[in-house]
């Protein structure tokens, strides 16, 4: 691989990671502030924001989705992890290429279906949070699954390439 491409990929990875972190920090912090603020408003001022609870729940959805994207980058999605302790490394890598490609395809399908659903929400002018268009809240679904699909594809390709690099090393001692 040319060094220019490697540098580009490294920079892309760092940029993506930064974006994820900014989103996670912003959402988690505002969740804490919003939830605690709501308690203070209720107990001290005997009032509250009507849409606060709904917004909190939507933020959980967003946290879940962005967290899933990030979990993909760090390869931390929950799997039944039996084979990696039993099989030789190269065989584990081959199965990982297979199952990660599978995950990439599944997520692409979900992203597409979520995209279709979003069109309908736009068409029917569904709303959340009093009168915010619902698609703004739900756009995270197709977006997240598309990114997760992409990340699984990257994981699979990396493992796949790694497979051959290793084989070459073994072949030329």
């Amino acid at each position: 691989m040319s060094s220019g491409l490697t540098a580009f990929i490294t920079r892309l990875d760092r940029f993506g990671r930064l974006l994820e972190n900014i989103a996670l920090v912003a959402m988690l912090s505002s969740m804490i502030v919003l939830a605690v603020g709501q308690i203070v408003l209720r107990e001290v001022f005997d009032t509250g924001i009507i849409w606060a609870d709904e917004l909190l729940k939507l933020m959980v959805l967003w946290l879940a989705m962005v967290g899933s994207i990030a979990a993909c980058r760090d390869d931390r999605h929950i799997r039944i992890d039996v084979l990696s302790h039993l099989l030789p490394d190269w065989l584990v890598d081959i199965t990982r290429v297979l199952v990660d490609m599978f995950a990439a395809v599944v997520c692409a399908v979900i992203a597409f279906q979520a995209w279709r659903y979003l069109q309908i929400e736009i068409e029917y002018e569904d709303t959340v949070l009093v009168e915010t268009p619902a698609w703004i809240a739900h756009v995270i679904l197709p977006l997240a699954f598309a990114l997760i699909s992409y990340r699984f594809a990257v994981l699979a390709i990396k493992k796949f390439v790694g497979l051959f690099v290793n084989v070459e090393e073994v072949a030329t001692p």
Binding site: L28, G67, R76, V99, I120, L141
Partner: protein
């Protein structure tokens, strides 16, 4: 359809991400029912309709902050001052500290890394046999699962639509029984080395109380807030997160502000991994219910067992097998909706079912082939996995006995719930 199920099962065992496997099975179900696949989106975004779910990211974050600070060290010192004068003190200290810490960090293996690293060498230094120490530290890694505000308890409450407040109360006595049985075992094993850790000292106690003055109120913030009716579970979680942040970042200054993004990311990786499984499971559960699978399961179970007691035996065996292959979070979101109606048919209280479910799944943390604690301990203490397993085995047996006791003695779980 059978073909599809076999392939999916195979993919799961080969290590495909569980959420992708569950999503595929749901989509095949929809396809067979001529339901538009678009419904996947609808189901997943209904994560945002579940009550109290905000408690999960907030408590997880609070737990991660605690484990990154020096709170684990202070906790060991505190329990040392409180229990260290008892014979076999350090073993008891280890059990109590781990249980408390796991309740706050949600049994994600953090306990072994944060507390085990302190306790393992300390136990060795005090003359306890190595094998015992390894087993103790490994099995303690999931010990506080039944104590509030552990994540699995909250998740069960959300999925089963059971009051989380009741679950928090219900877990106390069964959790205590587990602790007590392990303590008795530890004392008996070390009956030749029953020296106290130290004699009780008012000075040490006063010093350590001063040191932990900010952390001691934590359980009271959580439980007090909830049981006074002052805070909902998700609100208690937000207050806990903010409180822990202020204590560890501003007062103790053990975590720098610049470290927070890293900690937030680490905790949200876990949360994202759990909640995406929850989202796709909502879809697969809905499909299974519309396809009448719970009824089919019920008829099948009814053909096997007739009395509540024999149902509980069957349930226990099933959960032990389940726990050996599936992590606790996936097991809750996938299996609880299916067994809830069956258990109700046999007159098993839903709160008791929850405690039995989690207690049995706790054993899964230390049973091969996928016991998370075994691998974390093996990695952390650089011991071969079989060695860790055999060291943990006696603890596993004791915990198994406690789970049997918890299963067949419903009053243990329900006593505190019934008497408000």
């Amino acid at each position: 359809m059978i073909m599809v199920s076999v392939i999916l099962l195979l993919l799961a065992i080969l290590g495909a991400p569980l959420f992708a496997v569950i999503a595929t099975s749901a989509m095949f179900g929809f396809h067979r029912d001529d339901t538009d696949l678009m419904n996947m989106a609808l189901e997943i975004q209904s994560i945002a309709d579940l009550p109290f779910l905000a408690a999960i990211p907030l408590f997880t974050f609070a737990g991660y902050v605690l484990s990154e600070s020096d709170a684990p060290k202070r906790l060991v010192r505190l329990t040392g001052a409180m229990l260290g004068w008892l014979p076999g003190g350090l073993a008891l200290v280890a059990l109590a500290a781990c249980a408390f810490f796991t309740a706050f960090t949600g049994a994600s293996g953090v306990t072994i890394i944060a507390l085990g690293a302190i306790l393992y060498p300390a136990l060795k230094h005090d003359g306890y046999p190595d094998k015992f120490n390894l087993g103790l530290v490994t099995s303690s890694g999931s010990l506080g699962l039944l104590f509030a505000p552990s994540l699995p308890l909250i998740l069960y409450g959300v999925i089963a639509e059971v009051s989380i407040d009741s679950l928090f109360l219900a877990g106390i006595l069964p959790g205590m029984v587990m602790l007590a049985m392990l303590s008795v075992w530890s004392l008996w094993v070390n009956r030749d080395n029953r020296k106290p850790l130290s004699s009780f000292s008012w000075r040490e106690t006063a010093a350590v109380l001063r040191e932990t003055i900010w952390e001691i109120p934590l359980p009271f913030v959580v439980l007090g807030g909830i049981y006074s009716g002052f805070l909902a579970v998700s609100e208690a979680a937000a207050v806990t997160a903010l409180y822990v942040l202020i204590v560890e970042v501003v007062i103790h200054r053990e975590i720098r502000l610049s470290e927070l993004p890293k900690i937030m990311r680490a905790s949200m990786l876990l949360v994202g991994g759990i909640l995406i499984i929850l989202g796709v499971s909502l879809a697969s559960t809905n499909y299974m219910i519309s396809a009448g699978i719970p009824q089919m399961l019920l008829e099948y179970v009814a053909s096997l067992v007739s009395s509540p007691a024999s149902f509980l035996i069957l349930l226990l065996v099933f959960l032990l097998v389940l726990g050996a292959i599936l992590d606790i979070f996936s097991a809750i979101v996938l299996v609880v909706p299916l067994i809830l109606p069956i258990a109700a048919e046999y007159g098993v209280h839903e709160v008791h079912l929850g405690i039995v479910f989690l207690a049995a799944m706790q054993l899964g943390y230390m049973t091969p082939p996928v016991g998370l604690n075994l691998f974390i301990a093996s990695y952390r203490f650089e011991k071969p996995i079989m060695h860790v397993y055999s060291a943990t085995f006696p603890f596993l047996i004791i915990l198994m006995l406690s789970v049997i006791l918890i299963t067949f003695w419903p009053a243990l779980s329900l006593w505190l719930v019934a008497s408000p």
